[in-house]
C-alpha cells in the first residue's frame, strides 16, 4: 500500500512510466528454462562421448542449431562454459 495519498493525475503519470517491453524480448527471456535444459542435454551427451564432445566444441553454433536453438553469442558462451 502507498504511504501517501495519490491524486488520479499522479497515478496516470506513474502508469505512463512503465512501458511494455517488446514481446519478442519477453518470449526470449521466458524461454530460458527450455533453452538451458537443451544445453544441459547437449553437455550431458558430450560428457559421455569424447568424440561427440570434440565435434560440439568444434562447432558450437551447429550443435545449438541442431538442438533447435538460435546460436546467439550468449548461448554459444554458455555452452562453451558448460563443456
Amino acid at each position: 500500500m502507498m504511504d501517501e495519498m495519490y491524486d488520479e493525475e499522479h497515478i496516470g503519470e506513474l502508469l505512463r512510466v512503465l512501458r511494455p517491453a517488446p514481446e519478442a524480448w519477453i518470449q526470449a527471456a521466458a524461454g530460458l528454462p527450455a533453452t538451458r535444459r537443451a544445453i544441459e542435454q547437449i553437455a550431458a551427451l558430450a560428457g559421455m562421448d569424447a568424440e561427440l564432445r570434440r565435434e560440439v566444441l568444434a562447432d558450437l553454433e551447429g550443435a545449438l542449431q541442431r538442438a533447435g536453438l538460435q546460436p546467439d553469442p550468449t548461448l554459444v558462451a554458455v555452452l562453451r562454459d558448460r563443456l
Binding site: 500500500m1 502507498m2 495519498m5 495519490y6 491524486d7 488520479e8 497515478i11 496516470g12 506513474l14 502508469l15 505512463r16 512510466v17 512503465l18 512501458r19 511494455p20 517491453a21 517488446p22 524480448w25 519477453i26 526470449a28 527471456a29 521466458a30 530460458l32 528454462p33 527450455a34 538451458r36 550468449t74
Partner: protein, 184 residues
C-alpha cells in the same frame, strides 16, 4: 491475465525453483517493464543496449534465484541486479558513467519513481480485467479513444468516463480503501 497473476512474488520464486516454466514466464512478464525502465530511464540506454541488459538480467535472475535470501525480496533484488548489469554494460563499452554525484542523485530519484510506478502497476494488475485493460491501453500504450473503443467494442464516447471510473478504483485500492486481490 495468466492464472499466476495473483501469485505473490514469493510464491512465484518458490515455483520457479522447482522448475515451473509458467511461473518463470510470469516472473519475466511481471518485471519486464521495470527492468526496461531502469535501463532506459535510469541509465539512458539505447534500445540495443537495453535489450542486452534485459536478457542478461533475466539470465542472471534465472541462474541466481537460489541465492535470493528472502523470496519476498525479489523486487529489490531484481532492481539491484539490473543496476549492476547496466553499470557493467556501460563500463564494458568503454564508456564512463556521467558525473558521479549528479548522476547518482538523479538516478536514485528516477529509480525511486520507477519503484513507485511498479507499486501502481501491481495494483493495476490486481484490478478486474475491464479496468486493467482500458487503463493499460490508454496510459501505457498511448492508444486513442477510437482505437480503445474499437478494440474493446465500446462506444468511443464512453471511454473517458470509464477511464475516470477505473482510475478512481485504482486510487481507492492504492489508498487501501479497496483490498488488492494480490498481496505484494
Amino acid at each position: 491475465m495468466s492464472a499466476l497473476s495473483s501469485t505473490t512474488d514469493a510464491g512465484l520464486v518458490a515455483r520457479c525453483r522447482v522448475g515451473d516454466d509458467e511461473a518463470w514466464e510470469e516472473l519475466v512478464r511481471r518485471f519486464s517493464r521495470y527492468v526496461l525502465a531502469i535501463a532506459q530511464q535510469g541509465f539512458r540506454m539505447s534500445r540495443e543496449d537495453a535489450e542486452d541488459v534485459f536478457q542478461d538480467v533475466f539470465a542472471r535472475t534465472y541462474e541466481r534465484l537460489g541465492d535470493l535470501r528472502s523470496d519476498d525480496a525479489l523486487r529489490p533484488w531484481i532492481a539491484q541486479l539490473t543496476r549492476r548489469t547496466c553499470i557493467d554494460r556501460i563500463r564494458s563499452g568503454g564508456r564512463e558513467l556521467p558525473d558521479p554525484d549528479v548522476a547518482d542523485r538523479e538516478r536514485d530519484e528516477t529509480l525511486e519513481r520507477l519503484d513507485e510506478a511498479l507499486s501502481v502497476r501491481e495494483a493495476l494488475e490486481a484490478m478486474p480485467d475491464a479496468c486493467r485493460e482500458i487503463l493499460d491501453r490508454f496510459f501505457c500504450r498511448d492508444e486513442s479513444y477510437a482505437v480503445i473503443g474499437a478494440a474493446l467494442s465500446l462506444p468511443a464516447g464512453t471511454i473517458a468516463s470509464r477511464i475516470s471510473r477505473c482510475l478512481g478504483k485504482l486510487r481507492a485500492q492504492l489508498e487501501g480503501r479497496e483490498p488488492p486481490s494480490r498481496p505484494s
